[in-house]
């Protein structure tokens, strides 16, 4: 009797003693500690109703909203490329007018030096700007990769908690390796290679004695083929791992449900259903996190990507103008710089697409 009374007293004490539970506070503290609130992309996302603290808000993203975001970025980045185009256009017209003042200059031995001076003027105007654009592209690549090193463990963790352990492990290992490679490559390979190509482009245009456009085209082809190969291997490997892993995870999950419903007495069926509900909630959370992650990464790289594309268009247009006016030396310079910008654009797009496709693939397969 005494034992029953003590037991009842303990139960009553347990039930009526309040414990302060603060899951929300913990979540807030984790959110603050993650630094997600300080991301520049976060401000743009929140302006469009998407929040890191509420991953499901990604569902509010509409195509018109996306287009507005892209258009705002384009209009913000339009001034630089346009100014460059107009300035270079003026130089080309000036050079063409000077060269077309009859055969007086064309027949004399000073033609080559005069053309070189015109090309040097263009080099001086364009090289600083293009160098800055390339540096921004390298920085954005590194920033995107750094964001992925923080995002991948969280996303993989939620996917693993939702029962997709094998797929999440494969995603974690592969994408983290790719992100680390991208961070290292941006500083140690990407920028030096592009700077070297830029120097080759300038030398090729200024010095007629050497022809380096073959070398430049070779580097461009190497970059294009190399990136294509890396992208194919990466996405192929991740697809196989995700599909096979997803099957294994589904098998494990179904076995677990079967065991719960058959081995747990009385409440087995209810526990099994609860397991499915929890799994569904985690799947929703995972997809929400994945969606917000993809949107954040896209917004993070969008400015530098738009800037690269705009400058590439501007240089292409100037090279067409130079070709029309018959200033071959200047035209060669712009074509070479266009090749360098193409290579840079290829690298940035390839790495960012790799991150976005891999996350989207895990979201699709593990559902």
């Amino acid at each position: 009797m005494k034992k029953i009374f003590v037991s009842l007293l303990c139960i009553l004490c347990f039930l009526f003693t309040p414990f302060s539970v603060s899951a929300e506070e913990t979540a807030d503290r984790l959110y603050e500690a993650s630094g997600a609130g300080n991301l520049s992309a976060g401000e743009i996302l929140e302006e469009n109703g998407i929040s890191f603290s509420d991953p499901e808000s990604v569902l509010s993203l509409s195509p018109s909203m996306l287009w507005d975001m892209i258009w705002d970025t384009i209009s913000g980045k339009l001034t630089g490329p346009l100014t460059l185009f107009v300035t270079l256009f003026a130089v080309i017209v000036l050079a063409a007018v000077s060269l077309s003042l009859g055969d007086t200059i064309k027949k004399s031995g000073t033609t080559a030096v005069f053309t070189m001076i015109c090309t040097l003027v263009c080099v001086t105007i364009i090289s600083g700007t293009i160098s800055e654009v390339l540096s921004n592209a390298a920085n954005s690549l590194a920033d995107g990769a750094r964001f992925m090193t923080g995002f991948v463990p969280v996303f993989a963790g939620v996917a693993a908690a939702g029962g997709y352990i094998t797929s999440a492990t494969g995603y974690n290992v592969l994408v983290l390796s790719a992100a680390d490679t991208a961070i290292q490559a941006a500083d140690r390979i990407f920028m030096p290679m592009l700077s070297m190509c830029m120097c080759i482009a300038i030398v090729d245009a200024v010095c007629n004695a050497v022809s380096l456009d073959g070398l430049l085209n070779g580097i461009k082809k190497l970059v294009t083929w190399g990136l294509g190969l890396i992208m194919t291997i990466f996405t192929g490997l991740l697809s196989i791992q995700s599909v096979v892993g997803s099957s294994a995870d589904t098998l494990t999950s179904k076995t677990a449900k079967y065991v719960i419903s058959n081995c747990v007495p009385v409440v087995g069926g209810a526990v099994s259903d609860a397991y499915s509900t929890v799994k569904g909630s985690l799947s929703l959370l995972k997809n929400g996190i994945g969606g917000v992650g993809i949107a954040a990464l896209a917004i993070m790289v969008l400015p530098s990507l738009v800037s690269l594309i705009m400058y590439k268009l501007s240089v292409s247009a100037v090279s067409i103008v130079a070709e029309i006016f018959g200033t071959s030396g200047i035209c060669k310079l712009f074509k070479n710089i266009n090749s360098v910008l193409s290579a840079a654009l290829g690298v940035v797009v390839c790495f960012d697409l790799m991150f976005i496709i891999s996350t989207a693939m895990v979201m699709a397969v593990c559902s």
Binding site: T87, G109, L120, V121, T124, S131
Partner: protein, 129 residues
């Protein structure tokens, strides 16, 4: 404005006079050529300043640094003068002097481009750092 008809008439007359005088005195013919060419060149240069001003204004409006436009005009002037001197030397059958004038012109152009070479070298050094 330079009257193109007058210029053409002066040139043709000077050429005819040269043809006549060169049988008796080649030196006088060459002197006449130099005098007429210099006269025409000076009158054209005095008329070209409004064109240069207009091009400078357009270049400035497009955002082009006036120093670059100035460099291109200076280079153009050097090319014209070099060609002029070189042709006169060729007329006098002094080919080595013509070559010397051309070399001097090229060197002057390279000197003109030297500051830009320096700027590009600095930029390249920054890029390769």
């Amino acid at each position: 404005m330079v009257n193109i008809v007058s210029v053409c008439v002066i040139c043709i007359c000077a050429a005819l006079i040269c043809k006549i005088t060169e049988k008796h005195s080649k030196e006088q013919a060459v002197l006449l050529v130099i005098a007429v060419s210099a006269l025409i060149l000076i009158s054209v240069i005095s008329e070209i300043s409004p064109v240069i001003e207009k091009i400078n204004y357009l270049a400035g409006a497009s955002g082009l640094d006036s120093a670059y436009a100035e460099t291109i005009f200076k280079a153009l002037g050097i090319c014209f003068l070099t060609r002029f001197a070189s042709d006169i030397c060729h007329d006098c059958n002094e080919n080595s002097m013509a070559t010397a004038a051309e070399i001097a012109g090229k060197l002057q152009l390279v000197l003109l481009a030297l500051p830009m070479f320096g700027e590009i070298a600095d930029m390249t050094a920054v890029m390769l750092e």
